[in-house]
């Protein structure tokens, strides 16, 4: 096949996907930047160019800063723990524990349940006085607490729910990776007298790095994307203690109808995701041990 034909064919094959990607990822990202520099159009007031006004307002908006901080804490809370748990679960399920079929099922169930539905159940768990958690703490003689209704614990509760939802999904990736490690590597290490922990640390874990990177990328994206449970459980409260960036964008864009400000907020989110991507692909990629 000559070169021109190859070029044309290549682009033709790519075209449908490229068009959709451009339309729903690249164009909106650019449009977000553009619209954030204008005011919100209303029926009797068309949009005017306002430069960085929206960003100035954002800098003075305490709810924005709170949402940003919340999101970072949320990410910090969910990412390491869900990955660690996923790895642990995979090791357990892989390691011929008694009844591992049930274990695997139990760990993976959260993934197939819609977050919207499950959030209602967790709402019950956290309900004061007769919620499940309260019933258990009551049995143990611990004091009653309004988990979702107080600022210091509300976000923590959401972190717990998210970890519960995510860990099982990541477990599958680790499980597959673990099963792909040739057993002779472990044998060799054990023959050399290494303890199970050392085997894990020196042999297994480095080999799992590509999976870890993949799971990490997913976890980071999800920590910014998952807001379904907020809609059901706290609606951003109490007093914005559980307001995450995407949830605030949803509020601003579809409850206040302030599309220009929503665009500015979205841009911040995009920048955060971009930075996260650079860090992960650029920096961590170098540390990965490929076979």
């Amino acid at each position: 096949m000559n070169r021109t034909a190859a070029q044309v064919h290549g682009w033709l094959l790519l075209l449908p996907a490229a068009v959709l990607l451009a339309a729903f990822t690249h164009y909106p990202a650019a449009a977000t930047l553009w619209h954030s520099l204008f005011s919100t159009p209303k029926p009797n007031r068309p949009a005017v160019f306002v430069g960085l006004d929206n960003y100035r307002a954002m800098a003075e908006d305490p709810v924005f800063w709170q949402s940003l901080a919340n999101n970072l804490w949320f990410a910090l809370g969910t990412i390491p723990v869900s990955i660690a748990l996923a790895l642990l679960m995979a090791v357990w399920v892989n390691g011929r524990l008694a009844g591992r079929g049930f274990l695997r099922l139990a760990y993976f169930t959260p993934t197939v349940l819609p977050m919207i539905a499950v959030a209602n159940i967790w709402l019950f768990f956290f309900t004061p006085q007769y919620g499940l958690l309260e019933q258990i703490t009551g049995l143990l003689g611990l004091p009653s607490h309004n988990w979702l209704g107080s600022q210091n614990t509300a976000l923590g509760c959401l972190v717990v729910v998210t970890i519960w939802k995510e860990a099982g999904f990541f477990m599958i990736f680790y499980l597959a990776a673990l099963q792909a490690i040739p057993p002779n590597l472990h044998e060799a290490a054990r023959i050399e007298g290494a303890s199970p922990w050392t085997v894990f640390r020196r042999v297994t874990f480095p080999l799992l790095m590509p999976t870890t990177l993949f799971v990490l990328v997913n976890a980071v994206i999800n920590s910014f994307r998952l807001v379904d449970h907020i809609v059901v459980m706290t609606r951003g409260g109490p007093d914005n203690a559980t307001s995450l960036l995407l949830y605030y964008i949803y509020d601003v864009g579809f409850k206040f109808w302030d599309s220009a400000y929503a665009a500015a907020l979205t841009l911040v989110l995009l920048v955060l995701l971009g930075v996260a991507a650079l860090v992960q692909f650029g920096f961590l990629e170098k540390r990965i041990h490929y076979r």
């Binding site: 190859a6 729903f24 909106p28 809609v231 864009g253 979205t266 971009g274």
Partner: protein, 266 residues
């Protein structure tokens, strides 16, 4: 000793993990007085399922959701296969730049851009349709990425052999690459279906009526309470809407894991 500890730990975690589902079952089959009280001798009832089924047009929601995930999956399979083939086997100008742009979508999912995408859908005039829900997801960067990786590992000799037999490019794709990438397709399909079955934020913005409303949105509309939460009915509705996926996973557990393994997602 450590073995016993590990088993105990594993089981404890599993029980914790399955607790919400267990509670859902408990609340769904008992009358609402027992939704918060765990009396073992409480009467069983199917009335909650009936009430849940009648409270909202779940049959319609099911149809919408199945339509949605099928539409998205089919489109993804076709578009991503073509694109991945182009990236893997063709040399054309701007290829690497194009691939980098594709990778952008890995991090920047359409739901993050909901304000702008909503505007686009409104301009296209397709709001409140299954197409509007699915369109932003059809070109999946994840799918393109996976398939490109897989296609690249397929030995060129097979490609050349097929061509020698007179096959055109698309036929080579269909006869050589696609069959060899089957585990990847299965794994990707599973991820895609479960993701879109459970997607909520974008659909709730884009749908207005029962026409295209999927299960997740239907569930939210149904369980958001101005008059107080009745966990029995909500749990019944939850079980109804997650039953298909749950059942599918129960039956196909092994295939699930194996396909991920063979897909070599590393």
């Amino acid at each position: 000793m450590t073995r016993a500890l590990e088993t105990a730990g594993g089981w404890l975690l599993a029980i914790l993990w399955v607790l919400p589902l267990a509670y859902a079952v408990w609340a769904a089959v008992h009358p609402s007085e027992f939704s918060v009280r765990f009396v073992l001798t409480a009467p069983l009832t199917l009335a909650n399922f009936e009430a849940a089924w009648n409270a909202a047009p779940f049959a319609r929601y099911f149809v919408n959701t199945v339509l949605l995930v099928t539409l998205i999956l089919v489109a993804q399979l076709v578009l991503c296969t073509l694109a991945a083939y182009a990236f893997a086997r063709y040399e054309f100008r701007g290829r690497d730049l194009a691939f980098a742009l594709v990778l952008v979508q890995l991090m920047v999912m359409p739901d993050v851009l909901l304000v702008e995408n909503y505007r686009t859908m409104s301009q296209l005039g397709i709001l409140d349709s299954t197409l509007a829900i699915g369109l932003p997801y059809m070109a999946s960067a994840f799918g393109i990425f996976l398939l490109r990786q897989t296609f690249k590992t397929i030995p060129k000799e097979l490609d050349e052999a097929a061509r020698v037999e007179g096959a055109g490019s698309l036929q080579v794709l269909w006869k050589v690459y696609v069959p060899l990438a089957r585990p990847v397709y299965v794994a990707f399909g599973l991820v895609s279906v479960s993701y879109h079955w459970n997607n909520f934020l974008w659909p709730i913005i884009v749908t207005n009526t029962v026409n295209s409303r999927p299960l997740t949105v239907g569930l939210q509309v149904f369980s958001s309470a101005d008059q107080g939460i009745d966990w029995s009915i909500i749990c019944a509705a939850t079980l109804l809407t997650s039953a298909p996926l749950l059942l599918a996973f129960l039956l196909f557990q092994r295939q699930f894991v194996q396909s991920f393994m063979r897909a070599g997602i590393r």
